[in-house]
C-alpha cells in the first residue's frame, strides 16, 4: 500500500505546530496504524530527521495511552477501535491521511502528537474512588450485587481514559469520562456512601481543568473505543442534582476525599 500522511509536527508546548507531508510506500494491510508510524519513523531516522513523537504502550487497546485524530476522527474511522488496534485494511491504497493530536484546552500538546492528559488524573483524585482502608474490607460475598447492576457498572468501568471523548466533543467536554466513573461506582452498593460527594467534587474539578460543558452532541459516544453510552451522562446529571439538593454544597464538598 502507498499512503500519503500529513502529520502534525510541533517541537514543544510553546512552539508553533504545522502539518508535514510524508509518503509511505511500503505499508501493508495487516499493519497496525502505530506500526505505520513506526515504519515512517525508521525512514525519518535513516534520513537523520527527528522521529514523530506519539504516546503508546500496550498496543492492545486497553492502556489508553495512544490516541490521535485521523482524518478528523479520534482514533480513526473504525467503530470501537483504539488507534493501536486500527489496521491499515481499514484504508484504501493511495489514501491521504491527516494525523493530529487531541485538541482541547485541558490537554495541552507536549510534542507532535503527545498531549498532557493529567487533567483526567486530577478529576479522579478529586473523588473517583471508594475510600476503603487496606485490610478493612468485609467478606466479598457479604453484599450481593444484582447481576444487571454489576454488568452495567462494568460497562461504565470499561473506560480506558484515552480522552477521545474530549477530542471528539465540539466543546471539549469531559462529561463522558466523568460520567463513566460516577456511574461505575454509583451503580454498586459499595459506592453509595460517597455517591454525593464524589459527583460534586469530580464535576468541580472537571470545570476547574477547563473542560467545556455538555450540549448533547453525542460525538463522544461515537468516538469512544469502548462504546461507553451517553446514558451515563444522564445518570451523572441526575446524581449531581440529587447531591446538591440533598446537602448544601459546602457539606458535600467538605466530606470528599476522606483524610486517609
Amino acid at each position: 500500500m502507498r499512503l500519503t500522511l500529513h502529520v502534525w509536527r510541533q517541537a514543544g508546548p510553546r512552539a508553533a505546530g504545522h502539518f508535514v507531508r510524508y509518503d509511505v510506500a511500503d505499508a501493508t494491510p495487516d499493519m497496525s496504524f502505530l506500526e505505520l508510524l513506526d515504519v515512517l519513523n525508521q525512514q525519518l531516522i535513516a534520513r537523520r530527521e527527528e522521529p514523530i513523537a506519539f504516546d503508546h504502550d500496550c498496543r492492545e487497546g486497553i492502556c489508553g495511552a495512544c490516541g490521535m485524530v485521523i482524518n478528523g476522527r479520534p482514533h480513526g474511522p473504525r467503530r470501537a477501535t483504539t488507534t493501536c488496534q486500527l489496521h491499515l485494511r481499514s484504508f484504501s491504497d493511495g489514501a491521504e491521511l491527516w494525523i493530529e493530536p487531541w485538541r482541547a484546552r485541558a490537554f495541552p500538546v507536549l510534542k507532535d502528537l503527545v498531549v498532557d492528559r493529567s487533567a483526567f488524573d486530577r478529576v479522579i483524585q478529586a473523588g473517583g474512588f471508594i475510600s476503603v482502608r487496606t485490610g478493612s474490607a468485609p467478606e466479598a460475598n457479604a453484599v450481593a450485587v444484582p447481576k444487571p447492576d454489576a454488568e452495567r457498572a462494568m460497562d461504565a468501568a470499561a473506560c480506558i481514559g484515552c480522552g477521545a471523548c474530549v477530542a471528539a466533543c465540539p466543546n471539549a467536554s469531559a462529561m463522558l469520562f466523568v460520567a463513566a466513573k460516577v456511574s461505575h461506582l454509583g451503580l454498586l452498593p459499595q459506592g453509595q456512601p460517597e455517591r454525593g460527594s464524589r459527583v460534586v467534587n469530580m464535576v468541580a474539578q472537571m470545570d476547574a481543568e477547563g473542560f467545556g460543558a455538555c450540549t448533547n452532541h453525542g460525538e463522544c459516544m461515537t468516538a469512544c473505543p469502548k462504546e461507553i453510552s451517553i446514558d451515563f451522562i444522564a445518570r451523572l446529571n441526575r446524581d449531581y442534582l440529587k447531591a446538591v439538593v440533598r446537602y448544601p454544597l459546602s457539606v458535600v464538598r467538605g466530606d470528599g476525599g476522606g483524610n486517609g
Partner: protein, 641 residues
C-alpha cells in the same frame, strides 16, 4: 554477598502469622517522618503506594507512563486466583499453595507460596470493596471460572479485563492519596539508577521524560515494582515501554538477580504477520476452557479448517494429556505447540501448511452453549482477534502461537521482599519470589496485589523500625556521583552518532534470544548466543544512532537506554540458562528430557534458587545458591496426563 531468606520457623500454615507477630513496628508519629520511594504504578506499585500512604508514610511514586493508570497490569485479561472455595469444589489455601508449587515445577519457596495462597482471599474482599466489578452469578454472588493447570474453579474475573479493573481499583486508591497530598506522584519519569549510601538504598536518579531533566530523589527505602523483562525478546505480549532498566540498575548496585532464565512463553497469542510486527497480542488463556486446540494430522495440509474432517484433526493436548487436556499448564501447552509446528503441521493465515500457528477452536462450545453465551464470555476477545486478523472466531477457528509473556525471574528477595541491598525492596513481577519455574494463569495479579496490599506494608516497617538512617541531602557525594553517571550515560548514547536505529538493534537481540534462549535451549546455542550478544552490544555502542536532544521529550533516547540495559542483561539470562543443566517448568534444556519429551528436573543438583551477583559488564556473574527445602510437599515429576 550472603543470601538470608529469613523464613520463619514453625508449621507452614503458621509461619506468616508468627512472622507478623515478631516483626518490628514503626510508631505512627515516626511513620510521618519516613519517606518511601515506590517505582512503578502497576498492581504491585499502586497497591503498595496507596497502602503505605494509608499507614502514614510519606510516599513518592514514579512511573514512565503519562498516568499511573496505564501500567501494563492493565492488559491482564483472564482473572485472579483466590482460595475462596465459593464453588464448594474442594479448594483451600493448601490446594492453591500446592497447585502453585507444582505448577512452578518445585522451584519456589514453600513459605512464600503458602503465604500467597493464604492472602488470596483477602485480595478479593479488598478489591470488591473498592468497587471492582467482578463477574457475578444471577443470585448476585461472585462468579468463578477455571484456568490452566488446576482442577478447581477459583478464578475471579471482570469480563476479559480483569487486570484493567483491578488496576483501576488500585489506581483509584492511589489517586485518593495523591489528592489529599499523602502520595506525591511523578508520571512520565523514568528511574535510571539507584542511590546506595553505606550499603543502603537511599534514593533513585530519574529522568523526566518531558524535558529530559535528570534529578535525584532521596528517601528511607526504595520499592521497585517495575515489572518483568519479556521485552528482551523484542516481540512479546508486554507493553512497548516495559523494560529491565530499574531492576538491572539495582542489580549493578548490588541486588542479586534470581533465576533470570525462567521466562514464560504464553501458549495463546495471535501469530506474527510480518517484518513490521511491533508486539504480540495475547488471547486470554481462559479461552482454553471452552476452546479445543488442534492441528491437521497431515504435514503441510493446506485445506481451510472447515474442510478438514474430524478424524484428520489432531487434538494433541487432549491426546497427550487426557486428564488436563486443553487446560495443561502454559509451559507444556507452548512447547507442544512449537513441536507440532516444527513437524510442519502448523497453520498459517491462508489455512494449513507449515505456518507458525495452531487452531484454537470454539466450534463445539458454540454448538453446545449457543452463540450468545460464548459472546458473553469471550465477546471482547473475539472482537480484538477480529480487529487484528480480520477473521471472526465465530466463522473460523482462531490461530494462536506461543509468545513471551511473563518473567518468573527477577530480583532475589527474602521473605520480607527485601533484596540483597538493605532498604531496597522488589515486589510483583520484578521479584522472583512465588512462581518458581512456571507461573500458573491468573496468579500474577494475585501476587502483585498480595505483595502490595498485604505483605510489603508490614515487612517494610521491620526495616524502618531498626535501621538508623542518617539524614541525606542531595549534595551527598554518592548522590552526586550516581547522578553524574546517569547524565554521562545519556550523553554517551546521544554521542555515538552511528548508522543504525535503536529499533534494529532491539529486534536483532530479540530474535537471537527467541532462537537461542526461548522455548527450548541447548548448551551450544546458549554459548553462541552469549558470544553474539557481546559482539552486538559493542556494535550498539559504536554504531547506534539516537536522534534528538537529551533535554527534550525524546522517545528514541528512552528506548536506547532500555535496549542498552537489555544488552547487558541478556548475557546474564543466557548464562543462567546454560548453568542450569536440567529442564524445569519453562526452562527446557533439550539435553534433559524424558522419553515422552517432558521436562526432566534434577532436584539433586539444581533444587536451588540461582542468585547472581554482578561483577562488571562482560564479567561472569558470581553464583549464590539458596537451597530450596521442601518440608510439606513431596517432590514429584509433574504429571498432567
Amino acid at each position: 554477598m550472603e543470601l538470608r531468606a529469613k523464613l520463619p520457623s514453625g508449621p507452614l500454615p503458621e509461619k506468616w502469622e508468627r512472622h507478623r507477630a515478631e516483626i518490628k513496628l514503626v510508631n505512627p508519629a515516626n511513620k510521618l517522618k519516613r519517606h518511601i520511594i515506590v517505582v512503578g504504578s502497576g498492581l504491585a506499585g499502586a497497591s503498595a503506594a496507596a497502602s503505605l500512604a494509608e499507614l502514614g508514610y510519606a510516599v513518592s511514586c514514579f512511573c514512565f507512563q503519562d498516568s499511573p493508570r496505564r501500567a501494563h497490569s492493565i492488559a491482564a485479561q483472564g482473572g485472579i486466583n483466590a482460595a475462596k472455595n465459593y464453588q464448594n469444589d474442594g479448594d483451600s489455601a493448601f490446594r492453591l499453595f500446592y497447585d502453585t508449587i507444582k505448577g512452578g515445577d518445585f522451584r519456589s519457596r514453600e513459605a512464600n507460596v503458602y503465604r500467597l495462597a493464604e492472602i488470596s482471599a483477602s485480595i478479593i474482599d479488598q478489591c470488591t470493596a473498592q468497587g471492582v466489578p467482578f463477574a457475578r452469578e444471577y443470585g448476585g454472588q461472585l462468579a468463578n471460572r477455571s484456568f490452566g493447570g488446576v482442577q478447581v474453579s477459583r478464578t475471579f474475573y471482570a469480563r476479559g479485563q480483569t487486570g484493567q479493573q483491578l488496576l483501576l481499583g488500585a489506581y483509584q486508591a492511589l489517586s485518593r492519596h495523591i489528592g489529599i497530598g499523602k502520595v506525591k506522584m511523578y508520571p512520565r519519569t523514568e528511574m535510571l539508577d539507584l542511590v546506595v549510601v553505606d550499603g543502603r538504598a537511599r534514593g533513585i536518579v530519574v529522568r523526566s521524560l518531558v524535558d529530559g531533566a535528570v534529578s535525584t530523589h532521596v528517601g528511607d527505602a526504595v520499592v521497585l515494582a517495575t515489572g518483568g523483562y519479556s521485552n528482551v525478546y523484542y516481540l512479546s505480549t508486554n507493553a512497548k515501554g516495559c523494560n529491565v532498566t530499574a531492576i538491572w540498575r539495582a542489580h549493578k548496585r548490588g541486588a542479586a538477580f534470581a533465576n533470570p532464565c525462567f521466562t514464560q512463553i504464553h501458549p495463546t497469542c495471535i501469530p506474527a504477520t510480518g517484518q513490521h510486527q511491533s508486539k504480540l497480542t495475547l488471547m486470554s488463556e481462559s479461552l482454553r476452557n471452552d476452546g479445543r486446540i488442534w492441528v491437521p494430522k497431515r504435514k503441510g495440509d493446506a485445506r481451510p479448517p472447515h474442510e478438514i474432517p474430524e478424524d484428520e484433526r489432531d487434538y494433541y493436548l487432549e491426546r497427550l494429556y487426557p486428564s488436563y487436556g486443553n487446560l495443561a499448564p502454559r509451559d507444556i501447552a507452548s512447547r507442544r505447540a512449537k513441536e507440532v509446528c516444527d513437524e510442519g503441521r502448523g497453520v498459517g493465515s491462508g489455512g494449513g501448511g507449515g505456518g507458525h500457528g495452531v487452531y484454537l477452536d470454539l466450534r463445539d462450545a458454540i454448538a453446545r452453549l449457543g452463540r450468545r453465551v460464548i459472546a458473553e464470555r469471550y465477546g471482547n476477545l473475539f472482537e480484538m482477534y477480529e480487529r487484528i486478523t480480520g477473521e471472526s472466531p465465530f466463522q473460523r477457528p482462531m490461530r494462536i502461537y506461543p509468545a513471551p509473556h511473563y518473567t518468573m525471574g527477577g530480583l532475589w528477595v527474602d521473605y520480607n521482599l527485601m533484596t540483597t541491598v538493605d532498604g531496597l525492596y522488589a515486589i510483583g513481577e520484578a521479584n522472583f519470589s512465588d512462581h518458581g519455574a512456571n507461573r500458573l494463569g491468573a496468579s500474577a495479579l494475585m501476587q502483585g496485589l498480595a505483595d502490595g496490599y498485604f505483605i510489603l506494608p508490614y515487612t517494610i516497617g521491620d526495616y524502618l523500625a531498626q535501621a538508623k538512617l542518617a539524614p541525606l541531602d542531595a549534595a551527598h557525594p554518592e548522590v552526586r556521583r550516581t547522578e553524574a553517571e546517569v547524565s554521562e550515560r545519556v550523553a554517551r548514547l546521544l554521542a555515538v552518532g552511528g548508522r543504525r536505529s535503536v529499533d534494529t538493534f532491539h529486534r536483532e537481540l530479540g530474535r537471537l534470544m527467541w532462537d537461542k534462549c526461548g522455548m527450548s535451549r541447548n548448551a551450544a546455542g546458549l554459548r553462541e548466543a552469549m558470544q553474539r550478544i557481546r559482539v552486538l552490544r559493542d556494535e550498539f555502542w559504536s554504531d547506534v544512532y539516537v536522534a534528538g536532544k537529551g533535554a527534550d521529550l525524546n522517545q528514541a533516547l528512552e528506548h536506547a537506554g532500555r535496549v542498552a540495559d537489555f544488552f547487558e542483561f541478556a548475557e546474564l539470562m543466557c548464562h543462567d540458562a546454560l548453568h542450569r543443566e536440567e529442564s524445569c517448568g519453562c526452562h527446557f534444556r533439550e539435553e534433559h528430557q524424558t522419553p515422552e519429551g517432558e521436562a526432566k528436573r534434577d532436584d539433586e543438583r539444581f533444587g536451588y534458587v540461582a542468585a547472581w551477583e554482578f561483577r562488571g559488564v562482560g564479567e561472569p556473574a558470581v553464583l549464590h545458591k539458596e537451597p530450596l527445602e521442601f518440608e510439606t510437599v513431596h517432590l514429584a515429576q509433574r504429571s498432567y496426563k
